[in-house]
């Protein structure tokens, strides 16, 4: 029966796809673990930076740095969008791009000039389709972004900001809260609102530090360092979230394939049984006609 052959073919195809999605799930799981370890190691640096910032705060120092100053009038801004290079990761890219576009339009309405910078092929394709022009696009950030690569971007932003070429910098990315909770956000990271991620590390006893060369100069160095660490954290968060999104999407796909294979197998068995029954009926009918 033609129907039966068709069912066998479909069943085979579904099983093959299941194998692929299952493998992709496993790959995403191992990559997620690696990315997660990297993010955990990077957190140490951020923690230390905020510790030193906290120490500086106790040295009766006025925090003033060009990167900390909010501009009275915002004219030019940059929106950096972090998407993935690869697809098959559920709503990961769509979520980020939705947030980013809403933010972009909001800025336009306020009359703020906004240039877009996008990392990841998916975001670039989408925005090209929407006919939005991009100032910069990057495709070299994979699942393990390197600090030296992010630093190049960070230095450029710092330079532009200090020189007054940009008044604010926002990053649209997927924030990683826990392994079961990530969401797309647009975060403003320049001017820096708070140093050290908002939570100042409080030590029990205040230590009297000797500052070399001076507390002011340490501050002048540490503010850009804190910014670079923050930007790097955005990239790491995005990388971890991407792997989680892919893992979840592929798990769903594998389960769907299992279900589909079950239904197809049932349909095939019914069709086979129907075939046998009708053949039997024909034989019996034929024998009865001969009597």
């Amino acid at each position: 029966m033609a129907n039966r052959r068709l069912l066998v073919k479909r069943l085979k195809a579904v099983r093959n796809i299941r194998k692929i999605t299952r493998t992709m799930e496993l790959i995403a799981t191992s990559r997620f673990k690696k990315a997660m370890d990297r993010a955990a190691e990077a957190a140490e640096y951020t923690r230390k930076i905020s510790e030193i910032v906290g120490d500086l705060g106790r040295a009766n120092l006025k925090f003033s740095h060009p990167l900390l100053q909010k501009r009275a009038e915002e004219k030019k801004s940059v929106l950096l969008i972090l998407t993935s290079n690869r697809g098959l990761c559920g709503g990961y890219n769509a979520g980020v791009l939705r947030q980013a576009l809403a933010h972009f339009r909001g800025l336009k309405e306020k009359g703020i000039e906004c240039s877009l910078e996008v990392s990841g092929k998916r975001g670039i394709k989408f925005l090209n389709f929407q006919k939005v022009s991009l100032a910069h696009s990057y495709t070299h950030f994979e699942d393990q972004p390197k600090f030296s690569e992010v630093e190049v971007l960070a230095s450029r932003y710092v330079e532009d900001f200090v020189a007054g070429r940009i008044d604010r910098l926002d990053v649209a990315y997927t924030q990683f809260v826990s392994s079961s909770k990530q969401f797309a956000v647009v975060e403003s990271i320049l001017p820096i609102a708070s140093l050290g991620g908002g939570t100042a590390v409080k030590s029990e006893s205040s230590v009297d530090y000797e500052f070399l060369p001076s507390a002011e100069e340490i501050l002048a160095e540490i503010v850009p360092a804190a910014f670079r660490a923050k930007l790097f954290k955005c990239f790491l968060d995005a990388a971890v979230s991407e792997q989680i999104a892919r893992m979840v999407a592929m798990k769903g796909a594998t389960e769907n394939a299992d279900e589909m294979a079950g239904t197809l197998k049932q349909q095939y068995n019914r069709a086979r049984q129907a075939g046998i029954t009708s053949e039997l009926a024909e034989i019996i009918g034929g024998a009865a006609a001969l009597e």
């Binding site: 190691e41 230390k48 030193i52 230590v207 060369p213 340490i218 790097f232």
Partner: protein
């Protein structure tokens, strides 16, 4: 006996977290050494060699690229953009980097500062690689 431990962190990972006998770091204006019992300090680092002597007397060297050092109690934290074990630096690649830095032309004051920094980094790297 007073103890001293060194934590060497870069934005990517923690390279070193062990107790040591003494440490020498490149500060912005020259070398500084720490022994156990050092008074608290926060300092800006330059480019150069971080050398440590561990409890058994063996020395280890890292090439570090700027950052900060914090001494607090018995812990010395070194935060740097990039750190490489000196044994991993090859003389050849350092020489190539120096040539590249020399070839770079600066057109403005900002660019000049960048090129000067690259030159300094390459020279120090080469001089360190030569020792091994």
């Amino acid at each position: 006996m007073a103890e001293l431990s060194l934590v060497l962190v870069t934005p990517e990972r923690t390279l070193f977290d062990k107790s040591v006998a003494s440490i020498r770091v490149p500060l912005f204006d020259g070398s500084a050494g720490f022994y156990p019992g050092r008074a608290p300090l926060v300092g800006r680092l330059g480019i150069g060699e971080l050398r440590l002597v561990d409890a058994s007397g063996a020395t280890e060297s890292y090439f570090i690229d700027g950052g900060f050092v914090q001494v607090k109690g018995t812990v010395v934290s070194v935060l740097t953009n990039a750190a490489t074990a000196v044994s991993e630096i090859s003389r050849k690649s350092a020489a190539v980097k120096l040539e590249e830095a020399k070839a770079a032309k600066a057109k403005s004051d900002d660019e000049f500062a960048v090129v000067a920094r690259r030159l300094e980094k390459a020279r120090k790297m080469l001089s360190l690689a030569g020792k091994e």
